[in-house]
């Protein structure tokens, strides 16, 4: 397929570079897994090994004993699911307008999507903190969910606009010619074609909220209300000392949902991002 001729030494160099990248990419993660399964004796050893000689699940058990991980995961799940569903539900119609109509509003919205990527969160979180405090919504998941919805919106819009543009207007026009009304066209023609993109966007918004740290750190005060990323930082003591085994175990568990979901939607995300990026 490739037409460029590459000399043998150059090829070898390319494979070497690829190997270097793979190692750089993989080694911290492998180390995390290895640490998570090591018994305390091996963690204290002066010469740590890559593969635990005596692998154990004790760290996982201890992690759950030390911190309210289950509840934190539950909080994260509620916040991420609600935020993702709400964000995509309200973003989809707007994305449709942005993709199909070149009105001033659509252009302003696109501008906002870009600009919103740029502001330092501290400028937004202080007023939000004050407002939510006045509403009695500090240390409450609904308050956090509201923030997450708006936080997930720009990227959701960005992805959805790309997906809408990928639906040919001819199909909608044909439906109109056949006498279908606007709503009918949307429901029976556009929506089914858009569905996979919408699902991918929901999953992506879910990961963003599941991984989020800064807002959760500021808005959630008590351990019962905190989300997983915030609770994870409690494993690192005030002095930075940490029980490495449970820390690694908890961190590894917290990553799994995002990794699995991301593996499923990876192609769609890059696809959506690209159509969004190239066409705007």
């Amino acid at each position: 397929m490739s037409t460029t001729r590459t000399s043998k030494p150059a090829r070898a160099g390319q494979y070497l570079a690829l190997l270097g990248y793979l190692v750089f990419l993989a080694f911290p993660f492998l180390w995390l897994i290895s640490t998570a399964f090591k018994p305390p004796r091996e963690l204290a050893s002066l010469h740590p090994t890559w593969i635990p000689k005596d692998p154990t699940f004790a760290n996982f058990r201890q992690a759950f004993d030390e911190q309210p991980l289950l509840r934190a995961a539950g909080n994260s799940l509620i916040a991420a699911v609600c935020a993702a569903l709400i964000a995509v539900a309200i973003a989809t119609p707007m994305a449709y307008v942005m993709a199909r109509h070149r009105t001033l509003l659509a252009r302003a919205a696109t501008g906002w999507v870009v600009v919103s990527q740029a502001f330092p969160f501290v400028l937004v979180i202080i007023p939000l903190f004050l407002v939510l405090k006045n509403l009695g919504q500090i240390n409450s998941l609904p308050g956090l969910i509201m923030v997450y919805v708006v936080w997930a919106l720009p990227f959701a819009l960005w992805m959805l606009v790309g997906y809408v543009r990928a639906v040919p207007t001819e199909l909608e026009e044909a439906a109109a010619v056949d006498g279908a009304g606007k709503l009918r066209t949307l429901v029976s023609i556009t929506a089914p074609l858009l569905a996979p993109g919408i699902v991918a966007t929901i999953l992506f918004a879910f990961i963003t909220a599941w991984n989020e740290f800064f807002f959760a750190l500021v808005l959630l005060k008590t351990p019962e209300k905190q989300t997983l990323p915030v609770v994870l930082t409690h494993f690192i003591g005030a002095e930075g000392a940490a029980d490495l085994g449970p820390l690694a175990a908890a961190a590894f568990l917290a990553t799994l949902p995002s990794l699995v979901i991301f593996a499923i939607i990876q192609k769609r995300i890059t696809g959506g991002m690209l159509t969004g990026a190239v066409k705007s």
Partner: protein, 307 residues
């Protein structure tokens, strides 16, 4: 442009104009209202806070103090230290990351075996919570039980260092993590840009006897430039504003050597309760970012002229 596409465009334009009158507002409002209330509103409120003496737990009403916060900021050496560190960090992450990602994208654009592996592994940094990335690298950098010192020791570089708490090593150490964390996204974006390059142009250039460097300069780079500019500007801004990674890795230490502006502003606001002052910091950060965005836009416009 062919006649068919021209017709299609005008038809599209007409339907757009018709549609805009009725449905558009109704469809946009569900997203627009929360955006205005929870994003634009707080942003404007945040900017006004910068001109007040707002503090947490203050009982008397907040007063308008004009530019006093900004005057104080001007003399706050700690803030400017953190600002300098923020710029160092943002450049230190963005530039090597771009160069590495560019090389990698060129590599992955080749017909290599195992490139699927690189693509699948790229998920790891991309999907991981930043907090976990921080924790993971703490384990790598750990002076006693970490893999880095052990490997270095095996290679004959004896005395184990405590990378994250060393005055000279902390910033480079967190920069490496920053590069690691953002590589996949940058690579994928550049790879997409590369795939937009017309293959025929490459082949033609090769037949004309252009070497690899010339082909890159004359064919690949011009096509890649818009994507490269966009991703670099965004990366710089994201890095300048980043928080979680460094919060977990060093919490700004040792001695403030990794205290990014966001960490500084966070402490000022939520540890010391100085809301007005922290908001002023945010404003200064926005100003800097605006300058960068302006550069990016100018670059993009220029890029458009060349075409």
């Amino acid at each position: 442009m062919t006649l068919a596409t021209a017709k299609k465009r005008s038809a599209k334009g007409a339907s757009a104009r018709r549609g805009a009158d009725h449905g558009a507002w109704f469809l946009v409002l569900p997203a627009l209202i929360p955006i205005l209330i929870l994003s634009v509103g707080p942003l404007l409120y945040g900017i006004t806070l910068a001109f007040t003496d707002s503090q947490s737990g203050r009982t008397e009403p907040t007063e308008w103090i004009g530019l006093l916060n900004f005057q104080d900021l001007l003399h706050d050496t700690l803030f400017w230290d953190s600002f300098r560190i923020g710029l160092l960090w943002a450049v230190g992450v963005t530039v090597p990351q771009f160069l590495l990602a560019l090389g990698l994208a060129l590599l992955l654009n080749q017909n290599l075996r195992f490139r699927w592996l690189a693509r699948s592994l790229a998920i790891i940094p991309w999907a991981m919570p930043e907090v976990v990335v921080g924790i993971m690298w703490r384990l790598v950098y750990n002076p006693d039980a970490g893999v880095l010192n052990e490997t270095l020791g095996n290679l004959g570089f004896g005395d184990g260092r405590d990378w994250l708490t060393g005055l000279g090593t902390a910033l480079p150490a967190v920069i490496v993590v920053g590069i690691w964390a953002g590589m996949p996204q940058t690579t994928v974006a550049l790879l997409a840009g590369l795939q937009n390059t017309p293959r025929e142009l490459h082949e033609a250039a090769e037949m004309d006897g252009a070497g690899a460097w010339r082909r890159f300069r004359t064919v690949t780079w011009p096509a890649l430039k818009p994507v490269a500019l966009a991703i670099t500007a965004l990366n710089f801004i994201w890095n300048f504003n980043s928080f979680a990674l460094v919060y977990v890795l060093t919490n700004g230490g040792p001695g403030g050597r990794t205290r990014l502006p966001m960490l500084f502003a966070y402490e000022e606001a939520f540890r010391y309760g100085q809301f007005g002052y922290a908001a002023a910091m945010g404003c200064v950060m926005v100003a800097v970012i605006s300058v960068i965005l302006a550069f990016y836009l100018v670059g993009r416009l220029k890029g458009g002229d060349e075409k």
